[in-house]
């Protein structure tokens, strides 16, 4: 039904927008191994996005591409954190740390969804996201314990990303109404906090002491970064309405 589709949109949009951000790094990473690692993650995320959007589209008779290319900013349901700019490598890693630890808890919980499609997508995604967790955690260690410069950058990066963590764990009427189908974001917070705390402790870092931004992405209220991102992502498809590729 449409409610489940709306929920699937949120999941798909997070992955799609983050993949779009990560795509920029390919050919620009600090070393070849990272060109490969970041494109791997981006590819996994595109895969998840396609599954979720395809599923969402069944409710409205729309294809994954209809949803990806023909929705305006206000119809996107991504969280602000995935919309954030890449910044330097540390900032990309900080963003990745948050999102992959969040998604790991999310998909783990979703394995028990009574919606079989969601559970099946989660089953595949959770394994991949587990690797993403490892990738970002390893880099947090390297950067925070590497050189003085990298540590300074890592600390700064976490501060810049942290205001957007809270939104990921906000419940609303939609998820509450999808009892047993959707995962209540608030229920993931404790496990997220605990595991993140462990990574940060090993990296000799503190959880950043910064204020939260209120979010709003799930209701179509986005950061100022999403508009230009969509302009670039959708430009070619929109120049050729009805074309197939």
């Amino acid at each position: 039904p449409a409610d489940t589709a709306e929920y699937a949109l949120r999941l798909g949009d997070d992955s799609l927008i983050l993949a779009q951000r990560l795509g920029w790094w390919i050919s620009r990473a600090p070393e070849l191994e990272e060109d490969i690692a970041l494109s791997n993650i981006a590819l996994d995320l595109i895969g998840h996005a396609r599954s979720f959007l395809t599923y969402a589209g069944t409710a409205w008779d729309k294809s994954e591409d209809d949803l990806a290319y023909w929705r305006g900013e206000g119809d996107y349901r991504s969280a602000h954190i995935v919309e954030q700019e890449n910044g330097d490598f540390a900032r990309t890693i900080a963003r990745q740390l948050v999102v992959s630890f969040y998604q790991f808890e999310l998909y783990t919980a979703m394995l028990a969804s009574k919606d079989e499609t969601l559970a099946a997508i989660a089953a595949k995604a959770v394994k991949e996201v587990d690797y993403h967790r490892d990738h970002s955690a390893q880099w947090v260690l390297r950067l925070s314990l590497g050189t003085e410069e990298s540590r300074t950058r890592m600390i700064r990066a976490l501060e810049l990303v942290w205001p957007y963590v809270g939104e990921l764990f906000q419940d609303d009427d939609l998820v509450r109404s999808l009892d047993g189908t959707a995962v209540l974001p608030s229920t993931l917070r404790a496990a997220f906090d605990e595991k993140i705390a462990a990574v940060l402790a090993e990296a000799e870092l503190q959880v950043p002491d910064v204020q939260s931004a209120p979010g709003g992405g799930r209701q179509g209220l986005h950061s100022e970064y999403l508009g230009p991102l969509l302009a670039e992502m959708q430009v070619l498809a929109r120049e050729h309405p009805g074309a197939s590729w």
Partner: protein, 310 residues
């Protein structure tokens, strides 16, 4: 001496030289130049395609394109590793590239002007690369030959995907069809020139062939390629921008129209549309990543010390 004799024997029986075997300095140098140039080409070659990742017109195509550019990074890695077995560290090769001292394939100095270029590059550029590279799977230097086996397998996959992009466009709207034809028009001649100068003007080829690195001459490979794409373009319902392609029954060879070797030389000399841009981007990525690589190295050193102590 004994080393030379053993080397000659291996070459004579068309068997493989391995990293620990003795080899002539010229052989080593030729290989390092060729392999690192090939590796650089993979790396720089990521850029023209990366240009369309953010704008790919469907999610499926976006994923395929990302995976392709990723494969190129992978090819670069195997090839740098193969070159490293000859005693030149990857860092040195990278620095030569950044400094503009090392070559990479000139084809990547052309811009990707439209989405159809993703198809044309796959079909023509990867197609030409495969024609060049399949014989290299039998190159006398073991690590190089083995790297090429893997590279070729992935390249032929890429070529098929490129062809599919063009096929989709050729069967699409009028605008898509035109986009595809325009891309073929632009990439045709540069892809033919990827095989290098005509045989009568390719001084190093002879020695490479004696060493069983190169197996066919530039012109032989080019002709084979022209024959191949001449047939394939018919499936697309599009045309090659060369009305002189024909199979010469007498010589048993494919022929094509004249190529603008002056333009080729211009691009080779650094005056192509994107030479400056490609090098600047590579240098920028390398320099911007310096602090990350330093951090990783420092961290690894600390970890190693910890392990020692423990």
């Amino acid at each position: 001496q004994a080393g030379q004799a053993a080397f000659d024997a291996i070459i004579a029986e068309d068997s493989r030289i391995e990293p620990r075997d003795w080899m002539p300095e010229g052989y080593r140098k030729t290989l390092v130049r060729q392999i690192s140039q090939h590796a650089h080409s993979e790396i720089v070659g990521m850029q023209p395609e990366a240009n369309w990742i953010t704008r790919a017109p469907s999610l499926k195509r976006k994923a395929i394109l990302m995976a392709k550019v990723q494969d190129e990074a992978g090819h670069g890695l195997y090839l740098y590793s193969a070159a490293e077995t000859l005693g030149t560290p990857r860092e040195k090769m990278t620095e030569d590239l950044i400094a503009g001292k090392a070559r990479y394939s000139s084809i990547f100095n052309y811009p990707t002007r439209s989405w159809a270029d993703m198809g044309a590059i796959g079909w023509l550029v990867d197609g030409a690369a495969i024609c060049n590279q399949v014989p290299l799977c039998r190159a006398s230097y073991g690590p190089y030959g083995r790297a090429m086996v893997r590279v070729c397998k992935e390249e032929s996959f890429h070529q098929r995907q490129g062809f599919e992009i063009l096929l989709e466009l050729a069967n699409g709207t009028e605008a898509q069809k035109q986009m595809a034809q325009d891309a073929i028009n632009r990439w045709y001649a540069p892809s033919l020139m990827m095989f290098g100068p005509p045989d009568d003007n390719s001084p190093n080829s002879q020695q490479s062939m004696k060493w069983n690195i190169k197996r066919f001459s530039n012109d032989e490979l080019r002709q084979r390629f022209v024959g191949m794409i001449f047939e394939q373009v018919k499936v697309l319902g599009l045309t090659l921008p060369d009305d002189q392609i024909r199979f010469n029954e007498e010589t048993g060879k494919w022929e094509h129209g004249p190529l603008d070797w002056d333009e080729f030389k211009e691009v080779l000399a650094g005056r192509g549309p994107c030479n400056a841009q490609r090098l600047a981007r590579r240098r920028e990525a390398h320099e911007n990543g310096a602090w990350v690589r330093e951090a990783a190295a420092a961290y690894a050193a600390k970890q190693a010390r910890k392990t020692e102590v423990a």
